[in-house]
């Protein structure tokens, strides 16, 4: 008994550093933001309690709704391309008939874009895709593929697609590594058996790889969803800070940032932060429910 008490005391001591950091840097800001979201605090001076005014404003805020739609568009294109590329490469690299050598080298190459600072990536693509002086337009013009330079960042559709593709380029290596780890966890016996039975590549993919990789795919999907709905740095750096062209790259977190730091409306920014939180919770629940339903159906 005495020994147990001693142990529990040590346990508390050991978790204390983490607990303190967690309380100060996670729990306190969360609660403080909640409190501020019910005030009209502007970042200085007094904070006056205004009830749910900020939340009712949020529900009818066109800019927030637009930023939500923009975020979904960017994330939607991004996840399809990112996961598609990662899965495609995983299939090639895991196919025992291809016997691709040098997996670790490829893994490193694919992961490299993820190591470049987003600010550098934004600058790089701004220069590459510059309307008048960008090499991409120059190459396309010289090759005769276009007769006029394309203003890539001047049109909402092309701007959204480009930002999504840059995001996919930056993150597909990461997804590839996770998916490859998942594939390597699948027993080779299944593939050998399929090979002996004369299964086609498509059948192997459909009946072995995808079903057994499902938990990993869910993990990649959920982390991408949470990260994707919080996309900020790339659209912020690549545009004029308010989501040009015509606000099409104004994402939810960008709107939160601008409300907080540019428009000095801390109270409302708190409400936006909670708005984003509920959006992410909502989407995650839908995703989990969808996956669980599918899982149950498969068991049946």
């Amino acid at each position: 008994m005495q020994e147990n008490k001693k142990l529990s005391k040590y346990g508390i001591i050991f978790i204390l550093p983490f607990l303190i950091v967690y309380l100060v840097f996670n729990i306190y800001p969360i609660l403080r933001t909640l409190y501020l979201s019910f005030t009209n605090f502007r970042g200085y001076g007094e904070a006056t309690f205004i009830g749910i005014q900020n939340y009712s404003r949020l529900l009818s805020d066109d800019m927030f709704i637009q930023s939500f739609i923009n975020t979904l568009k960017i994330w939607g294109i991004n996840i399809i391309v990112q996961l598609g590329m990662a899965l495609g490469l995983t299939i090639i690299f895991s196919d025992i008939r291809y016997k691709v050598k040098g997996l670790s080298v490829y893994r490193a190459i694919f992961f490299l874009p993820n190591l470049i600072a987003t600010a550098s990536v934004a600058l790089l693509f701004q220069r590459l895709l510059d309307w008048q002086y960008g090499p991409v337009n120059q190459i396309l013009l010289n090759a005769g593929l276009i007769d006029k330079p394309i203003n890539w960042f001047g049109e909402p559709t092309s701007a959204i697609v480009i930002v999504s593709l840059i995001g996919a380029w930056m993150w597909f290596g990461n997804s590839f590594i996770v998916l490859m780890a998942g594939v390597q966890g699948i027993s080779k016996d299944y593939y050998e058996a399929a090979d002996i039975d004369g299964a086609s590549r498509l059948q192997v993919l459909r009946y072995i790889t995808i079903p057994l990789l499902k938990p990993v795919l869910i993990y990649v999907g959920v982390t991408s969803l949470i990260g994707g709905l919080q996309i900020f740095d790339l659209p912020f750096l690549i545009t004029d800070g308010i989501g040009a062209p015509r606000g099409s790259l104004n994402t939810m977190v960008m709107y939160l940032y601008n409300t907080m730091f540019r428009y000095s409306n801390v109270g409302y920014a708190g409400a936006i932060a909670y708005g984003i939180f509920f959006v992410i919770i909502g989407f995650s629940l839908v995703l989990f429910k969808f996956v669980n339903k599918k899982g149950k159906e498969e068991i049946r």
Partner: protein, 437 residues
């Protein structure tokens, strides 16, 4: 005996003198100072770093630590620190278009009060610079070493080619109003010359000759000049009379040194850029990027005076080294020797009138021998800071967005204006917009 008496009287007098002096000193200097002779400066450019080096050369016993924070992050970092009533930094800076919230938050020391009494320098400082430093109660919160009015830098050879004259006054007439700018753009385009590098170069002229403010008594106002701005700029855009080299892009810099490739019209050609809308500090870019064009640029006026940037310096209200901070602040913004050295070594245009007066006849060889100090002083004196509001910076962003949508044919003018109003109301609900807009 007599000598003793004299000595005693003298010693009494000396003691009395020192006592009085001490009492007077105590009356005057009430500023707190930790006594470690070190101050910390938070700034967003290298100017105060050079100033601090000079300060340390002159004051060997003083130490100044200059922390340079990226300009976009400055407001956020300083705001976070001061909201927590941090005593560091001792010296704070701000720019004209975002310093007002700092005043409202009460972060800056009142420099009108005793013992600073900075009001005494009012007549020696450019009016608008002095006004930027004032809070709502007309108390001085910040001072500036520089003034940053804007103008139009133009190519003299091109002006001569088109009009036969490169005289700044003559060229200024060609930019005297939005409609004149439109005519000039068309005229230059006929010679294969683009009036500006990009559409953004026109943004400072939406204000017009009347210098209409954005916000009057909490009402957002779109003056007639700004409504006209939509149409004028659309015509320029449609006729492709600018080079479409966006600000700070390689093409934008390249235009300072000669022709640039242009293919917005569908065929690759080389074009010259006639002018750049830039303030005093724009000179640095010309010197660096337009080395082959020395003597070939000039400077003239646009439809209205404007300001762009400018570093304003103040003392943190919670600083524990206010005395040392004030010494440094005086050295950088109110000291004639420092400001003369700064003007001569850096080519910057200071806000201190005695120095401007001294420099007024100095010719700028890069700008074809123009007396630039005289020019900038005149421009700075025309700036009416009462028209500037704390909302301007963000409102202008949404105005540019609305104008862009109309220029590119994505929205009708009415729809673009309606969206502009809606966006401004969204970000600043406290402002009023016209009904049905």
């Amino acid at each position: 005996m007599k000598l003793k008496k004299i000595l005693a009287t003298l010693s009494l007098l000396v003691t009395a003198f020192f006592l009085t002096a001490c009492i007077r000193d105590e009356d005057k200097i009430t500023l707190p100072d930790s006594g470690n002779n070190k101050i910390v400066v938070w700034t967003f450019n290298e100017d105060l770093k050079y100033m601090a080096e000079k300060y340390k050369e002159v004051n060997k016993d003083k130490e100044v630590e200059v922390v340079i924070i990226e300009a976009n992050d400055y407001f956020i970092k300083a705001n976070s620190a001061l909201r927590g009533r941090s005593a560091v930094p001792d010296i704070l800076v701000g720019e004209a278009d975002w310093i007002i919230p700092f005043y409202e938050a009460g972060y800056f020391e009142d420099l009108s009060s005793d013992p600073y009494n900075a009001d005494e320098f009012k007549d020696k400082i450019i009016d608008y610079v002095y006004e930027v430093g004032l809070d709502k109660e007309n108390k001085i919160r910040a001072l500036a070493y520089q003034t940053t009015p804007g103008g139009i830098y133009y190519r003299r050879d091109l002006a001569k080619k088109v009009w036969g004259s490169d005289d700044p006054k003559f060229v200024g007439e060609k930019f005297s109003s939005l409609s004149e700018i439109k005519k000039t753009a068309t005229e230059l385009n006929q010679y294969g010359i683009k009036i500006f590098p990009d559409m953004g170069s026109l943004r400072y002229f939406s204000m017009g000759e009347n210098m209409d403010p954005w916000v009057v008594n909490d009402d957002v106002t779109l003056s007639q000049n700004r409504v006209d701005y939509f149409d004028v700029t659309k015509e320029i855009y449609d006729n492709k009379e600018v080079a479409f080299a966006s600000e700070w892009s390689p093409g934008w810099y390249a235009g300072m040194n000669g022709s640039v490739p242009y293919n917005a019209a569908g065929k690759e050609e080389m074009v010259d850029i006639f002018g750049y809308t830039l303030p005093t500090w724009g000179m640095i870019f010309f010197r660096n990027s337009g080395k082959d064009m020395s003597g070939n640029w000039g400077i003239t006026t646009g439809p209205n005076p404007y300001i762009w940037g400018g570093t304003f310096v103040g003392i943190n209200k919670y600083s524990k080294n206010k005395n040392s901070a004030w010494e440094f602040l005086k050295f950088t913004t109110l000291d004639e020797d420092t400001l003369t050295w700064w003007s001569e070594s850096r080519g910057d245009v200071v806000a201190y009138l005695p120095v401007l007066e001294k420099m007024k006849d100095k010719k700028n060889e890069y700008l074809g021998g123009q007396k630039t100090y005289e020019f900038w002083t005149e421009q700075a004196q025309k700036v009416d800071y009462s028209k500037v509001t704390k909302y301007d910076r963000e409102i202008e962003k949404y105005f540019t967005q609305a104008v862009g949508s109309y220029q590119e044919g994505k929205m009708s003018k009415d729809k673009a204006i309606e969206q502009f109003y809606r966006n401004v109301k969204t970000i600043y609900p406290e402002l009023k917009i016209p009904n049905k807009k």
